[in-house]
């Protein structure tokens, strides 16, 4: 059932009174979702080991951290922590089997995110940006499909688009929904194709002005270069400048209707223009693509011209450098900033053998000994940090602009990275963000963020007191120093969230 904001406002007025009289269980489901206290509100057993175990590790890496009680729930899925972690990861790899109503309801308040492509232009770009960021943050905090959200972020970086460029201000919303989210755990080839023909991408990397109407025209190589350098083969993946030019030629003619140029309807529509396509013969990474003969009729020529895009994507997807490049990035995200070569090889093999099936690739990664062993050695990026703090404290949040502002100050607001390479994954560029993390820790623990509330007393009680709370936050028993500092600080929760251990994952 669809709960629009208008409808909500209608029911909202009377629902407070309703609550008082009928109690939660008799309310319509969509109203209940907004009033229900956060899940996991009962007592729970926090981690009790000295070191992070496999369960916490899985929650740290494949999710944005544990919510209250989540550790215990996951741990029960297996006889040992390793088995439990494996079961959890397996489950997370099938997000379609994980109910997520609460998240869906929460995100529905961001109405623009559900608008069809053409309708997006009806909105102020600032509203779109805000809803996109808030929607992303809301999902990361609330969703039960955590690995899916982690991968959405991974691919948003991999196929980075900064919507401050041109019509991408409006079109990125559709890209997020129809490219990144649709294929985040699907086939890499489908994701790549959707991205290549995404109107936002055609804007961001100038594909829309890549044309060769006559021999004098020079194709725009921007997308072609990033396709090879960033999206597929990687910078030392074995292509040449000539390959970049040839790929650009293959992709000439694809364009997107702009809001600044007639015709002023079907804005954002992607079109192939045969007269802007380079019909001469090409050679991409050693593979020949024959010229499109003049004698054919227009339809056939158009079909052949369009097919060159698929041909190029097929060549680059199957290139062994692509498997290696994607696997290296996945291992950097899930294992270590300097990923071990053995793991990359295993993951790349899985990528190749499954023809770029993202789930199969991740399955191989999670099964690797390298993943299992690499615990607590990564530095959370600011988004991960903020989300994990909100999850760990069981915060109720509207993902408001104050939180987005913290992310902006730390240089990690969603969809704000200027260049096509996406936010960096390794720790170094993020080390200057500690002050904002500490301020955020204070603000969230003292309930100073508008639209975000935590219930410290309940959290402390449910985790079994201070020691339990520390273990819940750190994913292990606190050290003697941590425990002492917790008590001395006068702001124990903030200190734990600000501590070195909580910056790691």
């Amino acid at each position: 059932m669809n709960l629009t904001r208008r409808k909500f406002l209608k029911v909202g007025g009377s629902s407070a009174a309703l609550l008082a009289t009928v109690g939660c269980d008799r309310l319509p489901r969509e109203v209940r979702a907004l009033y229900e206290p956060a899940k996991n509100s009962g007592p729970f057993a926090p981690p009790a080991s000295e070191q992070i175990d496999a369960v916490t590790h899985a929650l740290n890496r494949a999710a944005f951290g544990a919510r209250p009680g989540e550790y215990e729930r996951v741990k029960k899925q297996g006889a040992t922590p390793d088995e439990a972690a494996a079961a959890y990861l397996d489950h997370q790899l099938s997000p379609e089997k994980i109910p997520d109503d609460e998240t869906d309801y929460a995100v529905r308040r961001f109405e623009t995110l559900a608008q069809p492509l053409g309708e997006l232009f009806e909105y102020q770009e600032e509203l779109l940006q805000n809803e996109l960021m808030r929607g992303t943050l809301t999902r990361a905090v609330l969703s039960e499909r955590q690995l899916f959200e982690v991968m959405v972020q991974f691919w948003s970086d991999h196929f980075n688009i900064d919507p401050s460029k041109g019509d991408a201000k409006w079109l990125k919303v559709a890209d997020d929904r129809e490219v990144i989210r649709r294929h985040a755990l699907g086939k890499f080839a489908d994701l790549l194709r959707a991205s290549a023909l995404s109107p936002a991408m055609l804007w961001y990397l100038d594909g829309r002005v890549n044309r060769r109407e006559n021999r004098k025209d020079k194709p725009n190589e921007n997308y072609a270069r990033e396709l090879l350098e960033l999206h597929t083969l990687g910078v030392h993946g074995g292509y040449t400048q000539r390959d970049v030019m040839e790929v650009a030629r293959c992709l000439t003619g694809w364009t997107v209707r702009s809001r600044n140029r007639p015709p002023y309807f079907e804005i954002g529509k992607v079109e192939f223009k045969l007269h802007q396509h380079d019909c001469d013969a090409k050679e991409v990474l050693g593979q020949k693509i024959s010229a499109i003969p003049d004698r054919l009729n227009k339809e056939d020529r158009e079909r052949l011209g369009q097919r060159e895009l698929d041909r190029v994507l097929e060549i680059v997807t199957r290139h062994p450098s692509t498997a290696k490049h994607i696997s290296t990035k996945l291992c950097r995200r899930f294992i270590a900033d300097e990923p071990p070569a053995g793991a990359i090889e295993k993951v790349a093999d899985a990528f190749t053998q499954s023809s770029g099936d993202i789930r199969a690739t991740l399955r191989a990664l999670f099964a690797s000994e390298e993943f299992r062993r690499a615990r607590g050695n990564k530095f959370k990026r600011p988004f991960h940090y903020i989300v994990s703090a909100l999850r760990a404290t069981g915060a109720k949040t509207d993902a408001g602009l104050e939180i987005i502002d913290y992310l902006r100050r730390m240089g990690h607001a969603p969809f704000n990275y200027p260049t096509p390479d996406g936010y960096p994954e390794p720790a170094a560029p993020w080390l200057g963000t500690l002050l904002w993390r500490w301020n955020f820790a204070l603000a969230v623990s003292e309930n100073k963020l508008k639209g975000t509330r935590i219930d410290f007393a309940t959290l402390q009680k449910n985790s079994g007191g201070d020691d339990g709370l520390m273990a819940h936050l750190l994913g292990r028993k606190p050290t003697a120093d941590e425990a002492q500092a917790y008590h001395e600080s006068g702001a124990g929760l903030a200190l734990m969230l600000a501590s070195p251990a909580f910056q790691r994952c």
């Binding site: 688009i161 530095f379 704000n416 260049t419 096509p420 080390l431 002050l435 600080s489």
Partner: protein, 374 residues
């Protein structure tokens, strides 16, 4: 985690600071720096032109508005360069579009200053590497690794409840030796340093005389941060209100006074520190050459840029003067842009440590950096 940053090691601070001043509203370059020897100037502005007599002579052709006289010493020292007929390729004459384009440096993602910081070798990992004086992060800093927005030094702290927390943090971050721990210690040191600054009464050096306005106050904060060596790499500060459609004098005169007083005080105050500091002042566009009926000027194209800093070969007005004859003027009668602002920024960014990745900072543009350093 190795490769620890040590940007708080007293005189070990090798970083250079770039101060970007945006004169919002379209500042009239012809009124800031007048082409005294171009008769077209006097013909176009019979009522509002500055006379040759009033002007501070610069090089025989141009003269500084008398209200900018305080900039004369820096110009004579060779520390101040002026670029005339500078601006961007944006011809919309819309404040928003022109500022946006200038701050992004083209139809591209993020701001040029943000991309500069990302491209910088040290990855701007210090807690005070990028600062925006004001209320919000300006578009030019969009995409920077971490930006501190502050109106005063009070904003860089852990707040009132943070005092005890700071001690406990020092304990936890003090016990380890990795990159994260040293970043934590650096951040705590920066907090302490700024805290000290807050409690000291600031005495500008060399008799520098800042004004009582927000612009000068902003420059004082910047000077203090530079002197405290907290690793400040880039800082933005606005001086707005230049949209002089009518009564140009009443509007521009106080702004020019503020600009000159602030910059000259900053220049004096920093003294030798100026060697590793560059200040660049820019505006989104200049004004129509011809004055309008309301003693003002309308939106135009080319304006001036000021570059103040160590190492530059100043004491010159750079850029090509296009002349003011009808056939030269652009559109409704505007000074054409003969130097794209990127070509002024490019050599500065090179000096500040980004050369190879300059293309990334200014994409889709063929750079011809202005030879400002020799």
């Amino acid at each position: 985690m190795s490769d620890a940053q040590s940007f708080l090691t007293g005189n070990g601070d090798q970083r250079q600071t770039l101060v970007v001043i945006f004169l919002r509203g379209g500042a009239d370059g012809l009124n800031l720096v007048a082409p005294l020897e171009d008769d077209g100037y006097y013909r176009a502005r019979p009522r509002i032109a500055i006379s040759r007599r009033e002007c501070v002579p610069l090089d025989g052709f141009y003269g500084l508005n008398p209200l900018l006289k305080k900039l004369e010493p820096a110009y004579k020292d060779g520390s101040l360069a002026i670029v005339h007929a500078a601006g961007s390729e944006d011809a919309t004459r819309s404040h928003f579009e022109a500022q946006d384009l200038m701050e992004h440096a083209g139809i591209t993602g993020g701001g040029w200053l943000g991309r500069f910081l990302r491209a910088h070798n040290t990855a701007a990992s210090g807690p005070l590497a990028a600062v925006a004086l004001g209320r919000a992060i300006p578009e030019c800093l969009r995409g920077a690794p971490a930006t501190t927005v502050l109106q005063s030094l009070d904003d860089f702290s852990l707040g009132t409840s943070g005092a005890r927390l700071t001690q406990s943090l020092a304990r936890l971050y003090g016990m380890q030796t990795d990159m994260l721990a040293s970043a934590g210690r650096d951040t705590l040191a920066a907090i302490r340093r700024v805290e000290q600054l807050r409690h000291e009464k600031y005495q500008p050096a060399n008799g520098a005389d800042y004004g009582p306005d927000d612009f000068s106050r902003g420059l004082v904060q910047i000077a203090r941060l530079i002197k405290a060596r907290v690793g400040l790499q880039a800082v933005s500060l606005d001086l707005g209100g230049w949209d002089s459609h009518f009564g140009q004098g009443t509007l521009m005169d106080p702004l020019m006074t503020r600009l000159a007083r602030g910059l000259s005080a900053f220049y004096q105050d920093l003294g030798d520190e100026m060697n590793h500091t560059t200040v660049v002042a820019m505006t989104e566009f200049g004004r129509r050459v011809e004055e309008n009926s309301a003693f003002g000027t309308d939106h135009g194209r080319g304006s001036v840029m000021f570059v103040l800093g160590g190492g530059i070969k100043g004491g010159r007005v750079l850029g090509t003067w296009p002349g003011l004859s009808r056939d030269v003027l652009e559109g409704p009668g505007d000074l054409p842009v003969t130097t794209n602002y990127r070509n002024v920024l490019a050599p500065i960014l090179q000096r500040h440590g980004v050369s190879e990745k300059l293309k990334q900072v200014f994409p889709d543009f063929e750079l011809h950096p202005l030879p400002m350093y020799g």
